[in-house]
């Protein structure tokens, strides 16, 4: 990355009080030629990244962007596969136990329900949200947004959907849940015979797909919507 460009307005005088109340979008000019680091406020010139390369901040080493390896069509296919696997992962048992001929098995929704009924509604809701709802909403939002944008349409509610996507990306924990199922299977196996179920393998695949989709970032979605919509 090369040196940032200094502003021509760096020494402009303060605007009169009357003008302060109305800061319109016109007062905030887009600088598509620049990147500002989210983690240290350093300004960089925007460069085009080759596939598979990443740009890091010169001052704090934060990730500024990456050249994408996975194409749009592949991302759509990943999202469709992820949706199917989340459905399978939540309807198939995660682990099956055989205790002297008595068989017990549970899906994720059943485990959440049992926790709720055992008097821990907060833990049940927390698990439902982070292991089930957020990964599911993440997948549906990716399908909805990307599915419209590839057809040249900015979908309804694009901006709120993007804000929601950022939230569920941060709070979705499919990969942690995946590791949790492995630990649970091992702990059950110390008591009785335990067999990993289909649900566990489905969640393993969901983890990989969500990780791949997340790594692609959201920059392309914003860029495409700007190109189609012609705004900002």
């Amino acid at each position: 990355m090369t040196d940032p460009v200094p502003s021509a307005h760096a020494h402009a005088p303060f605007a009169p009080a009357a003008a302060r109340a109305t800061v319109t979008a016109a007062a905030l000019a887009a600088r598509h030629d620049l990147v500002v680091c989210n983690e240290c406020d350093a300004v960089h010139e925007r460069i085009t990244l080759a596939r598979g390369t990443v740009a890091r901040c010169r001052r704090c080493n934060a990730l500024l962007g990456r050249g994408h390896v996975i194409g749009t069509e592949k991302l759509l296919a990943f999202a469709i596969a992820s949706l199917l696997l989340i459905i399978i992962g939540n309807s198939a048992p995660i682990v099956t136990l055989d205790f002297q001929g008595v068989v017990s098995q549970a899906t994720l929704p059943q485990a959440i329900e049992a926790t709720w009924n055992a008097g821990q509604p907060f833990v049940a809701v927390l698990t439902a949200a982070t292991a089930l709802v957020f990964p599911l909403v993440f997948t549906i939002l990716r399908l909805y947004l990307l599915g419209s944008l590839v057809r040249g349409i900015v979908p309804r509610g694009f901006v709120p959907a993007m804000h929601m996507l950022a939230f569920v990306t941060r709070w979705g924990m499919a990969e942690v849940f995946m590791l949790g199922t492995l630990v649970a299977v091992v702990r059950c196996a110390s008591l009785t015979s335990a067999t990993p179920g289909i649900g566990l393998f489905a969640y393993g695949a969901v983890t990989l797909l969500i990780t791949a989709i997340t790594a692609a970032g959201t920059h392309n979605l914003w860029k495409r919507s700007s190109e189609i919509g012609g705004n900002a």
Binding site: E113, A118, G180
Partner: protein, 218 residues
Amino acid sequence: MSEASSLQTGAQLRLYGCPTCGRVSQLLHPIADSTPLPCPRCATPLHHRRPRSLQRTWAYLIAATILYIPANLLPIMSTSNVFQGETLHTILGGIEELRTGGDWLLALIVFIASIAVPMLKIGALLVLVITAQRRSRWKQVERAQLYRMIDAVGHWSMLDVFVVVLLVGTIRFGPLGGVMPEPGLLAFGAVVVLTMLAAGSFDPRLIWPEEEAPQRHP
């Protein structure tokens, strides 16, 4: 790092990078600090430093530290059967059971996720908020790296919560055996959420205080 001194910042150039959509906005006329600046593309409020970031981080951090005590002292689950009656399990107890059962690797993974990560996170956030409050320039690159690390690993602490929920759902053999969640699990889940909120409230740009303009303070 000698080239870093030639860098200019958004605050100096009146440039705002949007944390949500990445759009870079240049403010054309100076305005009062209190004027809200929504991003023209996605309406996220733009700031050079997020307001009240340290106060929020402190609040979540103190709450997490207090709850960390019951999370570790109280049992997170109980197992019961007709032969042995009820047994209570704490987080450390569960790790010990895995270790004595011969599952060294899993015991280590659960130890890292449940004990090491929350402690490191609380400790690291304390270092980050205190140094940021002092506008310290001590090891800035390392502190930035530390912030990224704790923000990336924080959610792995949810591991034990998921394990107990799955055991409660699966081990249901009536009088032969059952697992119940216990109050420690609630405290532990709250600690994980609160430390994630603390890390999310901390503005890493506070690691890089702006230089005072030399001509204004001769």
